[in-house]
Symmetry: C5
């Protein structure tokens, strides 16, 4: 579905135009067309392919979706695929935006995502001196918008991880922790798949051999690259922390289990002694002189009690009770 | 065994020809021969070597099979080995296809695999303007077909992994999970050995110094490279998830064991107390005044019951019961 | 907030000047201005941007803070971001300093950190022959000061790690160890994020293509690079040791648990035998000849005692007691 | 010890010659000398050094042995060290062969290994058209022979690993598995040390700058490189599988232990209840009315039996029995 | 402290000279000075700096010590730092040697180490034809001596690791093993920090762009590089083995614990049955007909004994006893 299709000249908006008019305007020198679509049908994409002269493989990728983030050059045109991440009901939803950047046009096609880029267009139109840089700057602006929306997800991940960490040394929370950590690992993984390939390819938009359309905005792409590197660093730190936390969690469960085992087994030993002694004086031998003593019973109780006391004291000293 | 052997000119099929006629047709300018074989005998391969002038080392590799995926140049000829993966009775079966790509011929030799490439030939014949690109495009088409068949295997792996993940926090499924995870690890490993070496070498068919026969189809090889990178990304994600899942599974078993141990040991302690008390009043001392009390027995039962109750309450509060 | 703003000529301090006067002085040949600010407001930064002609993206980074350490060139100007680390109440506090280095000026902007660079200025003013090298040398001096302050943090980390290691084979310290190790891991992680990106980029200030303003001080930057490499090596060693220590800790808990389990279970078995024997002679059968023997009771006690002795001896020999 | 020393011309054997005659023959144009030695004494090596003009450092390496596999150029001469692996009594024995390759000679010195290269010489003599390529081809033939002998060791490793895998989910085999896996890990490690350094250096014998003597046989060295890459891939897969298997083994032991613990503890609980009840009715209170009931005893047995039955049913339902 | 200071010409010792005379001799063509110091005071180093014209940063590094191994060029002079490792009371002691190599001088400064280099000087003086190569060869000789002294430490590490491995499958040695492994890990870590950075930088002394003073001795530096690579390979193997051994050790403890648990719990179950049965016949019901049977008691003993026998047989069959 077409969202809008606008012609700019010298950084100023000229007119909203028809799709059919695109190829005419493309020929006018100094003009530059910016088209935004979402969930485009194959027919719409084919129309665009004809108007802008796009490569069939790139169109195919835009139509099928589920691409890895990438930047590919087809002749003069640069084809960019980025993933749009958004939290939906506690889960990371992955959408996609494909951007075609030519000498004098930008076409963005968004798929299965609620995030729009109207704000990007508005900001660009407010800064005509930058918009004059043309297609390269617009593609930067789109990329910047996509990448900036990764930050809140990272923050959310870090906040949740901190919640888990706050409970990690709490007794009895092991199961809850491990489930949370596993889920966080999943979300981190999803984010990583959006960020790492993009980081790799954006590095090629500044510094070395840069596609012609992006040349003038190199410093801006370096800024995006830097943001991605920061996000990537944060993701690596989160992954590392999760891995350690899972390991520590296992250690803690084992430690806790070992403490409980010791304590219960110590009590079991104390009662086993009592039972064994009581069992001995409960035997039915005819000749058991102590059974006839006047203070035999209290004495027996005393023996049992002192046995219990002695064991209690010993286990206590060893830190088992 | 020969499957077919066809001459093309300007993207159009000219004729099915004899093996013996190959060297004659090769000399005609503008012609291009596409031969498909399967499970070729050494004699057949030697015949091909003579007709196309192939290098003995490449022929040897095609004859022996069990190669790693690779792309090698022998003079003008490019020699490609890829693995064909298919699910057979829940296991990944590994076949192989060796492709010789010359200036005006393509020879594909398939080994121990049910997958055929008739569909590839048909599709190519339907698009004469692409087939005109010659041997390079055909080798792309074959490679694309091989790689596209990896996707359903990845999907199957991901589906099974999700099934395991759905059960991972279920009590009592630990053994089943670990067996499944180990098996998935194996299958992932097999896939990785088909994909990673191919990914490395396909990267050399676009961008930098590209063999002459593949030059015209560079953008298509980049597309294959991109597919392989996606598959590789998916495999890495699966491996990572399996590793974490095994670790989490171990943690969960330990947690569960610790819970059961606590619960059973708590009950054992409760009964041990009862037994010890009963044992004391079962002793045969002559002077045990409480035994003669009218309500001695109910009192004893009450003492035992309240001991049990007290312990039950304490253990409950600690979360052991 | 402005800390100070000084003009130098030939390595000698000329005068403290006004912000408003900066652009005038910049035009005088042979002069060089060094400005230090802290927690600068957006207005102050904008003023600086105008005076020195700085790039808006760099100013934005300096204003927002929370950057990864980096070195970026904007035309002739080099923009450096470093993290300032200091211990605050047993935790690593992360501040930031942004340094703009031009042909004839240095501007440093410090954020949320107590560390000042007055000492650096003093030391530079005491060595006019080095200060003559200009902006490049000053940026080295600042960088050197930042990096030198990392060393005490590394030493503190190593000292604490040694304290944990000293207790790692101590019985009963497992929980304390694991909590300490987890915390150390966190601190190491924070340090790593300050050091690793800086190490990467400082490598570009000596050897290959070096920004013009840093050219004359290459050997000094190599020295900083070497310090960072040393810190990085120490961090890697600490991480490695922590990982092994966590693993070893888990092993030790398991070993200890296993020893305690064996010991308690062995005692339980000894008492269970006594109880079982006593239980048998406590049965109420009418015909139990041994109950009537004169020495039945001592004999029974002897049997029980020798059973206990035998088991004790066997378990001892097996190392369970 | 000298094995043999032969002069070839145009791929044909000319004569077996004396060591003393080597330097004379070396001067004759078109001649090429191939010397094979084993466990050479320092004196023999020194003689060779003089005849062929070899570098003292290379001679030293050949004399001392225990080198890593490597390929070094000393002027025109290429010095190759490879490890010879063979199974001896279930263990991998590591021998060594040092090969000096000059413009018109090959000298191979084998150390502490039973593997000889007579077959290589025979095969070369049967193919004079290849042997004509000279020293480069002979060094390829030796290298190929060494590398081909690695394959059966890999196969043996894989077969043993499969045997362990077949038992990995078997109850009670944990100890045997872990011992086998540890041993396999060792053998894999030994193989890796023979293969990885060689893989690295053989890569320099084709493609880029290649030593002059190896130039003509580049495609053959690429073939060796490919074989090594395959072996290396197999070793990596084995290492990966071993690591996972050890981890899985630990999980399984923990799972199994947890099952046994549950089962035994459940039985213990059942008997503890019986004992506690029996203990109560074994108390000696005078007033215990149920003891006088006619059917008191059967009733008590019934109570005990139903308790046991109830617990059995509950534990069964929970999967503990 | 000065050890010695000698002038050489054409590989022959000319004279022992004074520090004050150094700068005079340096000007004589064809002369070459070799100075050795140990634990030099700042004053001594400053004197050297003046005589040889050394860079202040290098002097500072030599004075402070605790550097990572490195090789740095200051103009024509090469500055080398290496770590000296020696076993002291079962621990690895780390000393340091800084070597300044100029066109016609070598200055070595050793810190906190007992290892001297007198042997190196003697060996060099015995081989004047090599010593003629000048400063480059002497720096090689020193480096070679340092690196050769790493080998016995590696051998010691391997020997100790083998001792641990020999005990790893022994019952009851787990704690001893884990302590040993942890200590070995530490020592390996220390060695790694001496070897890895040196390996990296020595690679730059042969092959590519090599500092002028080392040019003539390239092949010798390659030999040192090769030794370091071998040591590094050995260290990697040791680290790998330690990691696996720790993991295997944990598995074995768990396996052993599981076996002991099973065995003791099985015995506990056997006695629990006896106790429960004895308890039943110890109840005081008036009507318990079997108590009055003539052979009641032996029958009861028989029941108990057969229960015990049956359980024993079952547990045995399951491998628990």
């Amino acid at each position: 579905m077409l969202i809008n299709c606008v012609v700019y000249q010298d950084g100023q908006k000229l007119a909203d135009i028809d799709i059919a008019g695109i190829s005419d305007w493309l020929e006018k020198p100094g003009c530059f067309i910016w088209v935004a679509m979402r969930d485009a049908s194959p027919q719409e994409l084919q129309k665009m392919q004809e108007e802008f002269g796009l490569h069939p493989l790139a169109i195919e990728d835009a139509a099928h979706g589920h691409q890895r983030p990438k930047i590919e050059e087809y002749g003069e045109t640069v084809f960019i695929v980025m993933q749009l991440l958004e939290m939906q009901e506690g889960d990371v939803h992955v959408g996609e935006v494909a951007v075609f950047v030519g000498r004098n046009f930008v076409l963005s096609v968004r798929r299965s995502s609620q995030q729009n880029f109207l704000g990007v267009r508005e900001r660009c139109e407010r800064e005509p001196e930058l918009l004059k840089q043309g297609a390269g700057f617009v593609s930067y602006a789109l990329m910047d918008a996509v990448v900036d929306r990764y930050f809140p997800l990272i923050d959310a991940l870090e906040a949740e991880l901190e919640k888990v960490e706050a409970k990690i040394f709490e007794r009895g929370a092991a199961r809850w922790n491990i489930e949370r950590l596993y889920e966080l690992k999943h979300r981190t993984s999803t984010m990583r798949h959006a960020v790492v390939p993009l980081l790799e390819v954006v590095g090629k938009l500044h510094g070395g051999r840069v596609p012609a359309v992006c040349m003038a905005s190199q410093e801006y792409f370096r800024d995006v690259h830097d943001h991605l590197a920061r996000i990537n660093g944060a993701i690596d730190a989160i992954r590392d922390t999760i891995a350690t936390a899972i390991q520590v969690n296992l250690s803690l469960v084992t430690i806790e289990e070992s403490e409980v085992t010791k304590r219960l087994a110590a009590w079991a030993a104390i009662f086993a002694v009592s039972t064994a002694l009581a069992g001995i004086w409960g035997m039915n031998f005819e000749v058991m002189p102590e059974l006839k003593w006047k203070y035999g019973y209290p004495a027996a109780l005393l023996v049992i009690a002192s046995m219990v006391g002695f064991l209690y004291w010993r286990f206590r000293r060893r830190g088992w009770l």
